[in-house]
Symmetry: C2
């Protein structure tokens, strides 16, 4: 008899990943039948018209085919040629061979330098160990490795924010762990609240769950909030008090739009307060920021305050599927070692970066203001990341799943219901990206407004 659905584990069956769930499947069906769909369900910038950075693609093309540096010499600026040659030389075999399980050494070294430079401020001289850096296929794979390590029994729990990015809930379920939701405080712009963290912890203890780690997404997905140093400090003390590791999802670190706000990494703050007892896993990606290279799956995980014997276990886990893809590793290298002022590629690189980031800032503002103009929809400030997560006043008994599905059918706008990210009981939300071009954002807002006013 063929494999049946009844043969599968509860862990598989109960895994739920809303960002690509039934609403998106329905959107694809509608699109196949000729309906125009605006995909606001997923942070996929190049699918909504964002151009890849010229510098990055030029180097990657030369790495794929080094002969181009000879036969089409004129098509590459000097620093692109040098960078590609350096990569090919340092990788020894080019991008067609497996690398070490952790990833190419020179890339890990460059990541450590990037972290040290980024985090050496405010009186802190930061250092990072390249042997504690892992190249991953996007940040997702790094998160999964960390969760694999931390969930040792069906009783082990991971604190995740509510709302959260569903990679976390899905992976925790799939790995047979327990999810411990802690609420973010919508009224204060989705801020952290120590009381809400302790509440979550108490509930977990009552259920006999052993909490192992806390996930913090900063800037926030889906919330768009950016953490203050005080909130981060509070989280570190909380983690220490309860013997938790911290998983710091920092993939939106370049995506901060509110003037005056600055990204602070957990690695920086933990160095600043000389915290060496709390294990830290931080994640970064080439899919977000201004690269937006989602398809090429680059990213890294840096691990701190973890003994060498645990590092060896992580390396072993990485080795089972051999290594992260090499184009993604090269991309990650380019992210952490971009052209600098004076190099031939710098001017265009800088222009393209600034254009993308200021455009994203503009779209965040348009989305926030536009949604807030709709009676019955309320959106907190979008200070960072790539999403809006507005609350909806819905008629009694109706759910945001129904709302989003009907919105899709009526307007072609594809957003994801709040139920996929988690929310306080009795509230309703959806997540939309801020990624459509400005002309489309207006259309999206108008469509939602018209829909919202008549939906019952």
């Amino acid at each position: 008899m063929p494999l049946q659905i009844s043969d599968l584990s509860d862990a598989v069956l109960h895994t739920h990943y809303a960002v690509r769930g039934p609403i998106v499947a329905r959107a694809q069906e509608l699109e196949d039948h000729g309906k125009e769909i605006i995909y606001c369900n997923i942070g996929n910038p190049q699918a909504l018209g964002q151009k890849p950075l010229s510098y990055v693609r030029n180097v990657l093309a030369a790495c794929e085919r080094p002969e181009l540096l000879k036969v089409a010499n004129h098509a590459f600026l000097d620093d692109v040629r040098e960078k590609a040659r350096y990569i090919l030389e340092q990788s020894r075999y080019g991008i067609g061979a497996y690398s070490e399980s952790k990833g190419l050494r020179f890339v890990r070294a460059a990541i450590s330098e990037f972290i040290a430079a980024r985090d050496s401020h405010d009186g802190v001289a930061q250092a990072s160990n390249p042997e504690h850096v892992y190249l991953t296929d996007g940040a997702s794979k790094g998160v999964q490795t960390a969760l694999r390590l931390l969930i040792a029994s069906g009783n082990d729990g991971i604190l995740i924010p509510i709302p959260q990015y569903p990679l976390y809930s899905a992976t925790i379920t799939l790995y047979g762990g327990r999810q411990i939701g802690y609420y973010l405080d919508e009224e204060s712009g989705w801020g952290l609240n120590e009381q809400l963290l302790e509440d979550a912890m108490r509930r977990a203890m009552k259920e006999g769950i052993r909490a192992r780690a806390i996930v913090v997404i900063n800037p926030g997905n889906p919330t768009g909030s950016v953490l203050s140093e005080d909130d981060m400090r509070m989280v570190i003390h909380f983690a220490k008090r309860h013997n938790l590791a911290i998983l710091a999802d920092e993939v939106y670190q370049e995506n901060i739009y509110k003037p005056g706000l600055k990204f602070i990494s957990f690695a920086h703050l933990m160095s600043k307060i000389e915290e060496r007892e709390v294990s830290l896993f931080s994640f970064h990606s080439t899919s977000k920021g201004f690269f937006g290279e989602c398809g090429q799956r680059g990213g890294y995980m840096e691990v701190r305050n973890v003994p060498e014997e645990v590092i060896a276990q992580i390396t072993k886990l990485q080795s089972v599927a051999l290594c992260a893809n090499l184009p993604g590793q090269v991309l990650t290298y380019l992210m952490v070692s971009p052209p600098v002022a004076g190099e031939p590629s710098y001017r265009l690189f800088d222009e393209e970066r600034n254009a993308i980031l200021s455009e994203l800032g503009k779209r965040a503002k348009m989305m926030e203001e536009g949604l807030n103009r709709i009676p019955g929809i309320h959106c907190q400030p979008i200070d960072g990341a790539m999403y809006a997560y507005p609350s909806l006043s819905l008629p009694a008994g109706r759910t945001d799943e129904e709302y989003c599905m009907t919105l899709l059918e009526a307007t072609g706008v594809c957003v994801v219901p709040g139920s996929g990210f988690g929310q306080k009981p009795g509230t309703a939300h959806f997540r939309t990206t801020i990624l459509p071009p400005t002309s489309q954002i207006e259309h999206v807002i108008d469509a939602i407004a018209a829909f919202h006013l008549q939906w019952r």
Copy 2:
């Protein structure tokens, strides 16, 4: 307190992946200290000098940077330009955007056509459903998805050949399943033997293990054997009798060296005998064959005889980490739709392919004959794949682990002990790849011969 080794699960701690284990770590240390190492531990052709195919890299370079088709038009043949344009058009957003979770549709369609063409022979008109094809980051990730699906409880077992490729043992342990080893028959060139399969099944039942699937690696890793149709038919009947799914690891399907031998896929044979009750997961990769593109992590999994509701579960699992990397997806597309006679790229493509495959055939023969000339070492015929797995006569009480570690220290030749792949109690083996260039193979054999004669 930081995360401790005692916090980790037994599943993590017991996972063992020999191909990148302590011997390889030691090899890297020695290399860092200036010793010349010949890495025969892993099938990584480009690290041992195999050149990537020009056609493939030209198309990939153009996909990374489409402007090259204009600014360096002369550097691309007509069919390369067309192919790249087709890929960019069909993918809609190029290679920088996430694709569908299953992978790009046109790539899946091309894979289905490839399978149908490959498998339509011997009176069988084969068909393949693109909706049952999944693009994966190398074959490894596909294998892991299938095992994730099949291991539903700590009592679920997977039959794997002994010797096997340690991806299987490692993943089964990591996912908390039970490994059921079935011996291959060394004396008959590592053939399959129904009695040995039934023995394994009986042992499993006695231990209360519920067998869920059988893994077959054809051509064999590490054995180099190629299955006959009769053996495959026996496996299918065995699987049906015991209600097992089949995992067909067919990544070496292009690597058959013995004249007259032909690759037969499980999909073909199951169509031929009209078997519709046995679920089949088959795997292919761009890392082996004559592409050897290990670093770019391309591959696919095709699923058969599985109900649609299970297909939906597989798609959900794939979606949690978004999608396979797009350069790898493009590479897989090129593997299944190579240039054809008459196209401008064909001649060089064909030359490069034939040169690689005939070179690999030559190396397989050299390795087999060379090892068999050493008294106390016996190697079965290397009919396919990329490895030799000779048996060793060792002094009483000595292990192949010690042997390989000492061989490495003495000669710089890095091979993997039989204990990492599994072997009959009381026997000793190592696995070496056949990949070093011919001049190095002679050196490897001489080094092993000299070492073997004096090692006590």
